[in-house]
Amino acid sequence: MQRLEFRAMGSQIVVLLDVEATPEAAVLLDAVPGWFAEWEQCLSRFRPASELAHLNRKAGQWVPVSPVLWDVLQHALAAARASAGLVTPALLDALEMAGYDRSFEYLLPAGASAPHPATIGSRRNPDDDWQAIELDPRTHSIRVPADMPLDLGGIAKGWAAQQALQRLAVHGPVLVNVGGDIAVSGPWRDGTRWPIGVMDPLAPEQQLDVLMVATGGVATSGREYRRWQLNGVWQHHILDPRTRQPAATDVLSATIIAPSACEAEMAAKVTLILGSGAGLDWLEERTALAGLLVLEDGTVVSSHRLPDYRWKG
């Protein structure tokens, strides 16, 4: 098993390739950080020179975009549709007003009062905003409404995991983990499924469980790690588009297994935003998904399909 770890996209990246240690494998893995650097330069909202930042500055105008930005935006829009707008690229203004206006490494957990209003935004139907984005497939151009800057956030990480997976899977079974968004190409050469630990949000050094996954995606949304204070009130980065404020939910973290990393990312956010009752109902209605939730009181609950994946020792 060949292993590569590095940081990119504000996250720890882990690549595991089930091949022999050969010079060819080493050369292949050496190329991976360059892929992520290229994608981050295109997709980061924190880099003024990124293509996404350029698109946001040109809001209201048609802007031709690269194949990478075009593809990621399409996945973001698919996630918005699948979630009835609960996972949307159109929340950047609300995120910034909540104080998440720089890369998370630079946010102080108990940050000074920010010059933002306490009221972040008005209530609205989340399924309206994202549908105003216009696309021209003939020229790969996008027009973002003038008051709706985009943030590709977690979907960009899921997309990067899937993209790296596609490039590496021709060489052997592979797993790519982008800050907890995991893509898996197939079982090991001996048929074993990949053992993936689920971090306990209440004790991050411990694992709640181990999931055995052969193919598809796994992702976790949590509100314990990326959080900060704004005017003395704790904020977290999972916004509910219906209120445009950090989601009021009894779910601390939601781990989802899905056919792909992007779908797992979307479903984890939906489950967390909806809360344990409605979130589990939403999961059960979708036969391709399984989930493990940790609630505020420490209770761990799961969907009925999760036992198919839990390690059975």
């Binding site: 720890q12 984005i133 971090m199 694992q207 809360g275």
Partner: protein
């Protein structure tokens, strides 16, 4: 360029290729299963802190409490999923 074509607005054929985001999202590869599924229109209901799901004493059908794993010896995973790090 689509911008000038659209602004002239005189030829319907010129703008047929323009898509709103909803139409694109319905066709993206790998997401077909979602396109045919009602994305749950009830999700658009605006929540308040009063109606957040709270841990229920009586477990609903869809809720399965996972046994305490501290009594199980877990294998060493190859990697871990958690809140983005």
């Amino acid at each position: 360029m689509a911008q000038s074509t659209r602004r002239k607005g005189t030829n319907t054929n010129d703008v047929k290729h323009l898509l709103l985001a909803g139409a694109v999202a319905a066709t993206i590869a790998g997401w077909g299963v979602w396109a045919s599924q009602d994305a749950a229109s009830d999700l658009t209901t605006t929540p308040s802190r009063d109606n957040v799901s709270a841990p229920a004493v009586e477990q609903p059908v869809s809720r399965r409490v996972v046994p305490n794993t501290t009594t199980r010896t877990l294998p060493t995973p190859v990697t871990v999923t958690g809140s983005s790090r």
